[in-house]
Each structure stands twice: as C-alpha cells, then as structure tokens.
C-alpha cells in the first residue's frame, strides 16, 4: 500500500497533476472569471456581470451555428449508426472477405479530419460536377456552394469516416452474442429479421448507448472537417459551434465574449455526457 503522506505517492502524481492544472483546470477557472469581464486577451478592464452571456443569447451567428450543429449531429448520428451497425452485421456474418472489408471500412479513422475534408472537397466540387455533366444531373453541380449541399457534404464525410469506427464497437458486442442462441432460434423457424430484432438487438443494446454518445460527442465538437470541407461557408451558414467560438476569439479578437461562448459550450457538452453516465448507470442497476 502507498500512504497519502508518502513522498513517493505525490512524486508519482506530480507530473500529471501539474500538467492537468496548467492546461485544463487553471485555464478553465480563469476562463470562467474572464467571461464575466471585458477582458481583451491582455488586461481586464472591469467586471461586467452577465453581459457577455446575455449578448450570446442575442447573437444570431452563434445561435445559427448552434442550431446547425444540433441538426448536423442528429442527422449524422442516425446515418453513422445505421451504417456502422449494417457494416458490423455484414462483416460478422460468414463471408470470405470479412477481414479485408473491416480493414477498409476502418481506414478513414486513422487519417486526420483536416485531410479527409480536403479530399472530399475535391470529390464534391470536381468529381460531382464532372459526373453531373456526364449524365446530365444538374443537382450534382455546385456542391458546397449552398447551405443544403454543405450540410449534406458534412454528413456524408462524417458518415464515411465514422461508420467504420462505430462498426468496430458493434463488432465487439456482436461477437459476444452466443451462437447457440441464434442456432436455437433458427431451428425454431425464426426469420433472419426476427433473429435480429428479438435476439441480437436486445443483447447488443449497450452498444447502442455507447455508439450514440461517441458519435454525438464527436459530431458536436467537430472542427477540423468543418474547417477543411466548407470553412463555414457559404456566408457562415455551415459554421458549427467550435468554429464560431474560434472565430470570435481569434478572428474578431473578442476574447471575453468568446470565452462566455466557450463556457456555454462546456455546459452543453457536460450535460450531454452526464446524461450518458446516468443512462449507463441506470441500465447496470436494471441488469
């Protein structure tokens, strides 16, 4: 046992405690303080109470970006989980290319979001337009130049990237489903759909919660892909919260105001994560 008064206990903890304090705790505490002032990044002129926060709720650009982020997250979660589960069901069935396909579906996750966004920018702008001209499909022209196509561009990019990640999680749970159960159901004459619905899905239910929240926290905090695919355009209409905060701070130099947005962002993200913890705990109790 190590005792709390032992020097070694504190020596083992010191480096990470120092790093966490300097990098997360102190900036957060200072940040919350600054958000109640008119701090300009260098000095604090005065304490202004909730003024920054009140302004945030009247800031159309911020509210638009929040709404866009919510819409994008909801649609992406559905797509990513649908494809993730579908891919997992395909590669865990007895097919010969299973191993090879897992490798391919997972590959986009290793590459940075910035680079993936650039690749898809080429596809949406040049390839889509080219294919559109070839087959006379007008709707393939001018992708990423409208809010609609920018939105769907981001959804497609994220679904392509994250489906393989979520697939890996579903696979981990699917492989835990006892084959005897499935075989027994098969003998009893259950159709493939019934087997999925009544045996497999209930057993992999925890995978749904894990995957939902993983996708949610990834899509809600998205920055790199947003920057490289649409850069928020056209006219900031595809700008998500992370980018909006960054722009307020480093583009418009409104440090205290951006910090207030950051604190609100923190509260939303923390609320989402705590909901997940609550749901997981509740299920564990029920089981």
């Amino acid at each position: 046992m190590m005792r709390t008064r032992d020097l070694s206990y504190w020596l083992f903890l010191a480096p990470v405690l120092l790093a966490l304090s300097m990098v997360v705790i102190i900036p957060l505490v200072f940040g919350i303080y600054y958000s109640f002032t008119n701090w300009n990044g260098i000095e604090v002129g005065g304490f202004i109470g909730f003024e920054n926060y009140l302004n945030v709720f009247k800031d159309k650009e911020f509210l638009d970006s929040l709404w866009f982020t919510v819409k994008f997250s909801v649609v992406s979660i559905i797509f990513i989980n649908f494809f993730g589960l579908a891919l997992a069901l395909i590669v865990t069935s007895k097919i010969k290319t299973s191993k090879f396909l897992r490798t391919i579906f997972f590959m986009p996750n290793l590459i940075g979001g910035l680079i993936l966004g650039f690749i898809w920018q080429f596809i949406f702008i040049k390839v889509f337009a080219g294919v559109g001209n070839l087959f006379g499909i007008e709707s393939l022209d001018g992708w990423l130049s409208t809010t609609q196509t920018g939105f769907w561009g981001l959804v497609i990019l994220m679904s392509w990237q994250m489906a393989g990640y979520i697939m890996v999680i579903y696979i981990a749970y699917l492989e835990g489903v006892p084959t005897e159960l499935i075989e027994a159901a098969e003998i009893d004459g259950a159709s493939p759909f019934q087997r999925l619905r009544y045996i497999v899905f209930p057993l992999v239910a925890p995978a749904f919660t894990v995957s939902m929240f993983l996708t949610l926290s990834n899509t809600f905090k998205l920055y790199d892909q947003n920057l490289s695919l649409t850069a928020g355009g056209p006219f900031n209409s595809t700008q998500m919260v992370a980018m909006e905060i960054f722009k307020t701070a480093f583009g418009e130099s409104e440090m205290a105001y951006a910090q207030a947005k950051g604190v609100i962002f923190f509260i939303i993200v923390a609320a989402i994560s705590l909901t997940q913890v609550y749901i997981n705990k509740k299920r564990e109790v029920e089981m």
Binding site: F12, V16, V23, I90, F106, V127, G130, D224, V269
Partner: protein
C-alpha cells in the same frame, strides 16, 4: 451469424467496400493527372503515371522536415504520456484513500471539458510564460491526454494483485523499482492501446499546433497541409499529390499494425 454461406451479403459487402475506397481511388488517380486532364475527366485513369506533381508537392511541403516535426512531437508526447500516466494510475490504484478518489474523479471529469472552453486562457497563459513552442505543446498533450490514459491504466492495475508489490518490497525494492521492474512490464497490452490512441490523436491534431507552434520550420503535417492547400486550392493536381503524400505514412503504419490498432481503438471506446 448464420451457418450458411451468404453470397448476397458478400456482394453487398464488396460493393460497400468499393464505395468506401472510392475517395482514395479518386485522390490517387487524379494526383497523377495534369490540370487539363482533371478538367476533362476526374474518373478515368491518368494517361501516364507522371510523378511531376509529387515532386513539386513534396518540395513545396518540405515533406522530410515536416514529417520529422510530426514524428518528434508525436513520439515525445506519447512517451511522456505513457510514463507519467502509468505512474499516476499506479499511485492511485495502490492508495485507496479519499484523496485518490478525488484525484481520479478530477481526471475523469476533465474529459468532459471541450477544448474550445479552455483554449483562449490556455494560449494566453502559455504565451506569458513563453511556452508557445515544442516543449509547451508536449506539456499540453500530457495535460489533455493524461485523463483517458490514467483511466485505462487504472482499470488494468486494479486487476494486478498487491501481493506482487509486497513480495518485491520484502526483497528490498523501493517504489520506483517495484513499479518499473515488476508492475510496468505487466502493463504491456494496455500500454500498446494507450500508445495507439494517443498517437492517432496527436499525429492528426491540427488545432493545437495551429495555436502553439505556428512558426516557420516547426509545422507538423496537418498544419503544413492547411497552408499548402490554401495556396493550391485551384490547382487540384498538386493539392491531391500533397494529400496523398501526407497519407502514405499512416497507411504504411496501418498495414503493419492493423490488428493492434483496431483492437486498441475498440478497447478505448468501449471503456
């Protein structure tokens, strides 16, 4: 799942696989074309596999240097994270006091904080103490990466019996010796997971380097790529060659350590 071989699923799987690969196909074939060829047709193979685009992009990206910058920052940060997180997790797992519970909770809670909520004061504070450089960014990666790593190590350490520590104490080993010679070697599987998760994150990170080491000669691959792409946005043939160059190291690593990578990611996510 079923017993029978299912050829329709095989076909659907292969078709989806091809769709998933198509962005890479498009990137690679067009990276060999001239500007004119891309304009004419983006789908077909290039007329000739000409490496001119690659040579120009490679030089423009100053790729050897950029690659080395990425390697230095990633390797040092990951080693630092492994060393200090495993030590901290060990102390927390061998001291069951209220203090340990509080410290552990603090690290877990820190995972909830999005980067944008601390980014502005972080950059200001590190700017004041003149740590907006490589040392600073490595320290930041420790601060941001410690939480998940401690969490993962803690889970494994709880399963390692304390009788091992006690036996080593009787043999006269001190705390550091016990940890490094007895316990740490037993943590190898989880260390691989911690290393993979942190490597992928740090290697691909764009935002933190853009705020901390945004200086000529220090750029990592994502950072350099951002500027490169901005310059060549109307010259897709060069941009695509640059993107392909940037991806090649990752694909090589994936080829060699595929099993460990997929296993590591799923462990990190499920826990």
């Amino acid at each position: 799942m079923g017993r029978k071989y299912k050829w329709p699923l095989e076909i659907i799987g292969v078709v989806l696989g091809l769709i998933w690969l198509s962005p890479f196909y498009l990137m690679i074939v067009n990276s060999f074309k001239s500007k004119k060829e891309i304009f004419a047709d983006t789908l077909k193979l290039p007329e000739a596999f000409n490496f001119d685009n690659y040579i120009e992009a490679f030089n423009e990206l100053d790729f050897l240097k950029t690659f080395l910058n990425s390697v230095i920052i990633t390797v040092v940060s990951v080693v630092v994270i492994i060393v200090f997180s495993s030590m901290a997790a060990y102390a927390l797992s061998r001291n069951k006091s209220k203090m340990s519970t509080i410290v552990f909770f603090m690290f877990v809670a820190a995972m909830l904080i999005p980067f944008q909520s601390v980014m502005i004061p972080l950059v200001t504070i590190f700017g004041k103490v003149e740590l907006l450089n490589r040392v600073g960014i490595i320290f930041m990666y420790l601060g941001f990466g410690a939480s998940l790593s401690i969490f993962l190590y803690h889970g494994t350490l709880s399963g390692i019996p304390k009788s091992l520590d006690e036996a080593a104490t009787i043999d006269g080993a001190n705390r550091f010796q016990i940890f490094w010679y007895v316990i740490f070697p037993m943590l190898k599987p989880i260390t691989v997971t911690v290393a993979i998760l942190n490597t992928i994150w740090i290697w691909n990170d764009y935002l933190l380097p853009s705020l901390v080491i945004n200086q000529e000669g220090m750029e990592t691959i994502p950072l350099k790529m951002f500027f490169f792409f901005g310059e060549y946005t109307k010259q897709w043939h060069l941009a695509l060659a640059g993107l392909t160059i940037a991806i090649i190291p990752v694909i090589i690593a994936y080829f060699f350590a595929q099993r460990e990578i997929i296993k590591g990611i799923s462990e990190g996510a499920v826990k």
